[in-house]
């Protein structure tokens, strides 16, 4: 199908190679293990494959079929048509990592612009060419901090309001670092709605890194200046995981004194796509640039003095440094980084602020309406961006089941990750939600509580 050579071509080639039959090329494979019969379905034509996949897609109810109030780390935002048109250009889509800069200036300049936009958005000095997602970027932040202190500081403090999947990923990544303790989020008998001040007491001179989220997993926004200062006074590094859309409206983490900013770039023009591929943001201060994992693009000149771009500081990377590299990352999320670059270029200064404000206004309107329904309370009084915790009169799974019957995808059931938050739902509202949808949600929630 995608093999151009037909039998006559192959015969001519086998002759040049000097073998008689195709099978002669595989005599190194131990006999008895050669040419296994694979039990797979017979091949479909393109037309049949299209129909089959189309049927599978239609077996789902997507957020186009349902009204979505679900976030918790993946958000339904509008993606301008230009974003997909650009990333579908074969020149971007079907190129590889730009190892040969002379024929890869398009990818290189696009990544350079991505690095620039992300540095500006986060208020940091440098950003790499991406990680797999927010969770793995968080794990790489821990690895960087650990190596920064040459393994001499063995405690990493994570906020309990850091995305639970980020915390799980950090723990998996660090299994080989047996002396390292990851702590701060064991909220067994404490208040799950406590703020970041609970971390203050735990910071000490053995702390390598403190990680918080902004807005945090429960949607809340805090000024982290004091926490950053306390971390720095103890000699620790301070990292903030961000939602980049919120940074269109909110003070950037660079202004809180963050040393590392990580984040999930999915909201910036990348479809929900059932959880991936997404985009891991990793930005930091210039002094850590040689410790950063992954690719970096630098500006330089060619031999005629013309401006050009190239992968730089590659001596940090695994293909050169092998076991001394601090990370093994190789393939990253180049195309997703391009999507976010096109998205940010299109929205620009005004557009991003507008989207962020729409999210903020609509979420606050929703919170207002819901808090007026008897039995429901918005149960955190901290300021929030576009996601908030609602305490409900019955288990969230029951409420969500009922909402689904009205075509509404309800919020995230917090009891799955926070046993102390029984009957609590995390509701996300974006620019995609109309006033009518928000009011319907209110009406249905009210009806459900009477059932």
């Amino acid at each position: 199908m995608f093999v151009p050579n037909a039998d006559p071509d192959r015969e001519a080639m086998l002759k040049t190679i000097g073998v008689e039959r195709i099978e002669d090329l595989f005599t190194d494979v131990p006999e008895g293990y050669r040419f296994p019969k694979l039990n797979l379905p017979e091949a479909l034509s393109e037309m049949e494959a299209y129909a089959h996949l189309s049927e599978l897609a239609q077996a789902n109810s997507s957020v186009r079929d349902l009204t979505c109030f679900l976030g918790a780390g993946a958000y339904h935002h509008y993606i301008p048509a230009v974003v997909d048109a650009i990333i579908q250009r074969g020149e971007f889509l079907t190129a590889y990592t730009p190892y040969q800069p002379e024929v890869s200036q398009g990818t290189l300049q696009a990544i350079f612009e991505y690095q620039s936009l992300m540095a500006l958005l986060t208020g940091m000095e440098v950003c790499n060419a991406s990680h797999y997602d927010g969770a793995t970027a968080a794990a790489e932040a821990v690895i960087m901090a650990y190596h920064h202190f040459r393994g001499k500081r063995t405690k990493v403090l994570v906020s309990h309001a850091l995305h639970p999947q980020y915390r799980a990923t950090i723990r998996t990544y660090m299994q080989g670092y047996t002396q390292l303790t990851i702590t701060g989020d064991e909220c067994t008998d404490c208040d799950p709605l406590a703020g970041p001040e609970v971390l203050l007491r735990a910071i000490d001179t053995n702390t390598a890194l403190v990680i918080v989220q902004y807005p945090d997993f429960l949607g809340r926004i805090y000024d982290y200046t004091e926490l950053a200062n306390t971390a720095h006074q103890a000699g620790a590094l301070f990292a903030i995981a961000v939602n980049p859309i919120a940074l269109g409206l909110l003070k950037p983490p660079g202004e809180f004194g963050a040393d590392i900013v990580i984040g999930e770039g999915q909201p910036l023009g990348i479809p929900l796509s059932f959880g991936g591929p997404y985009l891991g943001i990793f930005a930091t201060r210039k002094e850590f640039v040689r410790k950063i994992a992954g690719r970096l693009v630098g500006e330089t000149v060619d031999q005629d003095g013309k401006r050009a771009y190239v992968l730089t500081l590659t001596a940090r990377e695994q293909h050169i440094r092998r076991e001394k590299a601090t990370s093994n990352i190789c393939s990253n999320q180049g195309l997703m980084a391009l999507a976010s670059t096109v998205y940010l270029s299109l929205l620009g200064k005004q557009g991003l602020r507008q989207v962020a404000e729409l999210c903020y206004q609509k979420a606050h309107y929703a919170a207002d309406l819901i808090s007026q329904i008897p039995g429901y309370t918005v149960c955190s009084n901290a300021p929030f961006f576009h996601e908030f915790v609602v305490c409900c009169p019955k288990p969230v799974s029951e409420i969500n089941q009922a909402l689904l019957e009205y075509g509404i995808l309800g919020g995230f059931d917090l009891s799955t990750d926070y046993p102390g938050l029984k009957n609590a739902m995390l509701i996300a509202v974006t620019e995609m939600n109309t006033r009518e949808e928000i009011e319907t949600l209110r009406d249905v929630l009210e009806d459900i509580s009477h059932e």
Binding site: F2, A12, G298, D302, R321, V342, Q350
Partner: protein, 488 residues
């Protein structure tokens, strides 16, 4: 002309997209946390489209021509994959939706797991890892967890052949293991003698690439896996070169315990200028319970009237999750589409043609270029990019000169055990005509190296930029650009 940056193109007051006005009453913004300054560029939609279109024209890509980067499997990317991955029913599903609303996704993931198991001979597959290196990390952490689970705590070392990808040693080090290199023998196989001398009960396992990075099938594969197993070690298989084995041999049958798949290489999902890829991991019976979750299973058998119900499950001794959600679902759709369109015979045909193409190209270059390990190769091979009688020429010069002939160069300087290596992987999606044109260019360049070496030294001549100053990039580090001051 070089292309200005988006910051240089910015003009105050422009915007590339409009959004509706708020249709809800206004709530005051939190004044202490409000951002004062957002120095993003301002451009119209047409500015943005033209900028990125102009940039795109400075890239070489598979849609344009052969991209024979060894070990990267740059095969043609069927457009049907892009169409199916964009079906709204897939692209607009949220990863935390209730399972009953996403049965289409779960069906696809379940069958992709099953197919990968069958193709490579494993007992279970987790689709979660995001890339090849991520799959390696997953696999090595699983090996670690397996030994720990059995209380076998003295295994601190991992064997890695010197021809391995840099990701292999980096992965082992990241997982807390000491890396022990294993040399390659004169035939391009793992040196069995030395391997035997290194094996003891401190060995957690070996990371093996087969076919290896010289493009050669490991002739002693059964012996290697047996020896490592005999001392209680496990075998990690680097699946980067699986393209050569589809329908030819199954790694699981050969004694590999755990292996990653590079969906973006073997199953034709585009590399996107560096990613995204996807690196699912397959495991043998004894390692399957350590896979990262969640994994898709049938939770309720179907019958005549109802299809089976699919759901997520965590493996019993899972190492935990290695990223958020379930992996790169969008990439899984592409790989699923590709496998569904090939079937068992089609996949075998892919491998056969990849191997024919590589051997044909090797045969055409034999005599002009030195082939350090001259055997029948699998889907790629390595030649030396230098000649004793043209001492100033190095592999890089040949690569740069290839660009003038409108070809993407092969991989340079890898594997490290061959001096001035050019590692060439044509893949099955190139025609004989393309291979002939590529071989002709390489033969012509070999002649130029002897008669007009300066042509190579000063190449490329016909590209958007000439040879790039990499030293300056690292010395005068410029990693960002900004808006001009008056616009900030």
């Amino acid at each position: 002309m070089s292309e200005p940056t988006i910051f240089e193109l910015s003009s105050p007051g422009r915007t590339g997209v409009t959004f509706p006005q708020a249709d809800v009453p206004s709530t005051p913004l939190p004044d202490t946390l409000i951002r004062e300054n957002l120095p993003l560029p301002e451009l119209s939609e047409v500015d943005v489209v033209r900028h990125f279109t102009r940039l795109s024209r400075m890239n070489y890509c598979i849609d344009y021509g052969i991209y024979p980067l060894g070990s990267c499997t740059m095969k043609y990317n069927p457009r049907i994959n892009e169409a199916t991955a964009r079906f709204p029913g897939f692209a607009y599903t949220h990863p935390l939706q209730p399972e009953e609303t996403i049965q289409g996704n779960l069906y696809l993931m379940y069958h992709l797991q099953e197919w990968l198991k069958e193709i490579a001979g494993f007992s279970a597959v987790s689709l979660q890892p995001a890339a090849g290196a991520h799959g390696e990390l997953t696999g090595i952490l699983m090996i670690r967890a397996y030994h720990q689970h059995r209380g076998d705590t003295k295994r601190t070392r991992v064997l890695i052949p010197d021809s391995a990808h840099g990701t292999n040693p980096a992965t082992s080090a990241m997982s807390g293991f000491e890396v022990v290199p294993v040399p390659t023998d004169k035939n391009g196989n793992v040196d069995l003698e030395i391997l035997r001398s290194l094996l003891d009960d401190t060995i957690a396992g070996i990371m093996l690439t087969n076919p290896n990075t010289l493009g050669l099938f490991e002739q002693n594969i059964l012996e290697v896996t047996k020896l490592v197993h005999q001392v209680g070690g496990l075998v990690y298989g680097d699946g980067a070169n699986l393209n050569a084995l589809l329908g030819i041999a199954r790694p699981g049958d050969l004694g590999i315990d755990v292996m990653h798949f590079n969906l973006h290489k073997t199953f034709s999902t585009p590399h996107g200028g560096g990613g995204p890829g996807a690196g699912p991991v397959g495991a043998s019976e004894r390692l399957k319970d350590f896979l990262p979750g969640p994994i898709v299973e049938i939770v309720e058998e179907g019958n005549e009237d109802y299809p089976p119900l699919y759901g997520f499950r965590e493996p019993k001794y899972s190492i935990g999750r290695v990223k958020s959600f379930y992996g790169h679902f969008g990439i899984m759709i592409r790989a699923y589409t590709y496998i569904a369109m090939h079937g068992p015979e089609g996949l075998r045909k892919v491998a056969e043609n990849a191997v024919i193409n590589a051997n044909y190209l090797q045969a055409r270059l034999r005599g002009t270029y030195k082939i350090p390990y001259d055997r029948i190769c699998m889907h790629e091979f390595v030649v030396e990019g230098k000649w004793a009688d043209a001492p100033e020429i190095i592999a890089l010069d040949i690569s740069k000169r290839l660009m003038d002939y409108d070809f993407h160069p092969p991989t340079n300087y890898f594997p490290l055990i061959v001096h001035d290596a050019l590692m060439i992987e044509p893949t099955e999606t190139e025609s004989k005509q393309t291979l002939d044109a590529f071989a002709d260019a390489l033969i012509k360049i070999a002649e130029e190296a002897h008669t007009q070496p300066e042509l190579l030294k000063s190449a490329p001549h016909n590209t958007p930029v000439r040879r790039v100053d990499e030293v300056k990039a690292a010395k005068d580090l410029v990693l960002c650009c900004w808006l001009p001051e008056e616009q900030q």
